[in-house]
Subunit: 339 residues, 2 copies
Amino acid sequence: MKAKITLKDIARELEVSISTVSKALKNSEEISRDTKEKVQAFAKLYNYKPNNIAISLKNKRTKNIGVVIPDIVHHFFTTVIRGIEKYANARGYNVIVCLSEESFDKEVINMEMLANGSIDGFIMSLSSETQQKGDYNHLKEVTAQGIPVVLFDRITHEVDCDKVIIDDELGAYQATKKFIDQGKKRIALITTENYLSVSEARTKGYRKALGETSMGIDESMILKMSSMEMDEASIKNFLNTKKPDAVLCVNEIFAVYSMRLVQEKGLRIPEDISFIGFTDGVLSRYANPSLTVVAQHGEKMGEESAKMLIDKVESEAEEETYQTKILEPTLVIRDSIVH
Amino acid sequence: MKAKITLKDIARELEVSISTVSKALKNSEEISRDTKEKVQAFAKLYNYKPNNIAISLKNKRTKNIGVVIPDIVHHFFTTVIRGIEKYANARGYNVIVCLSEESFDKEVINMEMLANGSIDGFIMSLSSETQQKGDYNHLKEVTAQGIPVVLFDRITHEVDCDKVIIDDELGAYQATKKFIDQGKKRIALITTENYLSVSEARTKGYRKALGETSMGIDESMILKMSSMEMDEASIKNFLNTKKPDAVLCVNEIFAVYSMRLVQEKGLRIPEDISFIGFTDGVLSRYANPSLTVVAQHGEKMGEESAKMLIDKVESEAEEETYQTKILEPTLVIRDSIVH
DNA sequence: AAATATAACGAAAACGGTTTCGTGTTGATA
DNA sequence: TATCAACACGAAACCGTTTTCGTTATATTT
């Protein structure tokens, strides 16, 4: 077990000072060719690599970014992480992932753990509990300390920081509009409670599209699920009583499950009833029929978030100017609607 | 923007030495009650938190663990990460996630980045390219440096370290046995090239189960896909010509896609043809019909890996004794087989 | 030959902690 | 009253770098 070699080791071995070694390895003009070659050869031979921690302490830069998300077993978040990872890695940053598991306390604890020097900045998406409580003091403290934060997808306007979202309202609007244009008359929405910023925006888009028609908005065609978990019975009941001819769902799972229910009833998709979901995940792609979705471009979102964060981290300027980047969703047409 | 406060700041403000502050905050017996109270009150007031980086440098312990996996957009890996995260967090560790994207080079680069002090140990699953090349020098170097490594799922026996795997052979054996017991006569396997250690083990289990019957093994009933990507045409052709009455697939996607193909042909699942896949992901759960799978217990695997790693990291003893933990897979019965 | 420039290197501070080893003061003991 | 513990604290080393600012020689200029 050959332990890592340090500058001090090289200095001792070559009988020069630590400073000389450090400079020699950086190809400093101060050092003679002879010495540089000697030092560099020795360093290469013993596979010297500078200690990241020491450099971090010196520079007050860790080259780590902290990502705090509610869950990782969701396709959307997973693609965002991938986007962050790719971009951050390309710029020499590592990604520390923390899971809040939709819990306010865990979110706070994770941030505190990381905020004490472990990271240069945060990229995060709020836990549902945090959005429910509306308590953003942990975020405010971190930003007050001068640690840059980028919020994505599940954001709040109460914190001054950079943000990346997709235009959820537009996505829902376009999807609903699609149904309307196809002559659908009983367009339902299956969503979650409004404390999730995204659900709220999607509901708004749905309302807007319907509000522009002569049909208007029928509140009873909106089903609000109380949690992210599936309440299968209430979906079943909703579909049976309201008999929609088109359903917009705020996620894949609601949509896929609903499709199955109506198929069991003998309805044909998309002729008798059409479906559009949110999130372009593996479920939509392999569902039967395949599900038309509003794609959120998670990977793009991750890249953008990472870019904004790292740019801010590396900018000397202490501008207190924050921007919100709004990505456009895309309707991915598949077999759950006529086309 | 109130920057973080340091020991030095407190010392200056309270007109004591840095050592006194440090000891006072640790409730050292050396320091008088008066001083301790004064220091602690001040620290609390200004929300002092020790700098992780400085502590890491001093202790040569980062409390970070590096996780290097091929991909994150796979349900299995995602659950493993969740398991690692939960366990590691509970023991005060953070998780740095790096993606090799199935590339040998990226795997090497990622490890090198982290091995220079950023982490206390590695948890990893090999990229397919690494398994193909059979080049494990990057792993050997890291272990030679005394950095503990835990390999999970996609492992190699060429590196001496702790390992966590599920008994893939057993899983495939049990699944195949299930088909046999149900009287299936034409049992097919859809797998990938053998360089993936898991595919190899699964194929072995399939062979073993069939070898124990009078049917024996029909090599033509095994379809080897050349990559992880779907080659839809070859699956279609395979199913049409071989006409199996049961299919074991080494992942969810092959299975779900195959089910759709045979349904289009008018076959009934599970009566005419049954399916079992690997990986208990969201796809299996919401497929129509729902897919019976060999569950790999990713979360458990993650926990075990994290436990093994952290135990090793924190053990003073320099034992060079490594263990391999084998988890038992479970057959999750759903509607794609008769039951 | 004296003054000055330059090349090549080292000492030391700094980053923010922890920890060992003094050291000065007080009170108790001989 | 001299001696010795105990107490409460500080100085300094250390972790591994980077970087500034000397400090020597040697070479160049006048």
